[in-house]
Symmetry: C3
Subunit: 140 residues, 3 copies
Amino acid sequence: MKIYQQQLHLKERKRGFHLITSEILQALPQLSEIKTGICQVFIQHTSASLTINENADPTVRKDFETYFNKAVPENDPDYLHDDEGPDDMPAHLKAAMLGSSVMIPIRNGRFALGTWQGVYLCEHRNYGGQRSLVITAWGE
Amino acid sequence: MKIYQQQLHLKERKRGFHLITSEILQALPQLSEIKTGICQVFIQHTSASLTINENADPTVRKDFETYFNKAVPENDPDYLHDDEGPDDMPAHLKAAMLGSSVMIPIRNGRFALGTWQGVYLCEHRNYGGQRSLVITAWGE
Amino acid sequence: MKIYQQQLHLKERKRGFHLITSEILQALPQLSEIKTGICQVFIQHTSASLTINENADPTVRKDFETYFNKAVPENDPDYLHDDEGPDDMPAHLKAAMLGSSVMIPIRNGRFALGTWQGVYLCEHRNYGGQRSLVITAWGE
């Protein structure tokens, strides 16, 4: 069994949902050496998250932003943690709902994703800055 | 360390939440050869998802359907992605909230689930068709 | 490749969100023997969950409790599963939204968490009792 680990620094994205599948693949060329395995992608932040969803129609990613802004409102007077601005506490909550990592099976040196699946960076802050990922893949 | 991977095609289920623990176990007979390990179950779709929850009272699964239909409404006029019907965009959102994979520890050749835990297929479309899973288990 | 697995029984916590990173680390001293790997923490319950979020300001954890109580209301007359009290069905729903496990990359014998990341036990019941975790770490 082999294991590979790589850090990936993503350039700053605007608030919203962004496809990053190809950046992950480029960061891990050793993937091709794994016949059967798993790849974990982990984000080292608490106000951005990762999920897997549709990789084709960009309106899906826009609707994600619309929906989560309604489901997790800014400026709720009950929030206690509000020093860093109205987008801060909702960003933490959205990050927990979507999750800090995705796990993708590997088959024959490739991601065994469905036809319509891609990895999203979910940027929940207005100015989130660069985001750091840790990519770990193992298998044989 | 051993690793096993298996594809499983689930028959079409109606919209809602369905227990599939026993189907997963049947698809992976090699599980019994792993003393200490992990099993990942991954769904290759963006409008259905997987989660772990109560395996006993079927009303829990009905309440899941009721709750998520309220929390992620159909026919929101703000949705841009609506060509495939009113259940489409909510299905993508529910899938992201619940997740595309579950990870179950293995101990002595069995799933180390709690007494009340089972794996749910969460079918978010009215007519989702067959669903494909990739099951990967590793350990020693 | 090595793999270690450990059960951890957490003492009863009150309803809310609690940092448990240090308890996990104490339960798995073998972590220091893994240079590159992954640690999975799994909760064997369906009315409590695990997530990763901010480890510093305690008001973040209070706002998590406030938000999830609004997003998943008690006493919805549409719930069918209500024999165990008003906090029961919401607990199952919150647990599914947040998830039954977290996966943390390991680098040089330590968790490769971001500066502000910690592991939360999310206790969704009023009287949840002790909670059992299964901690599994693998790598080389």
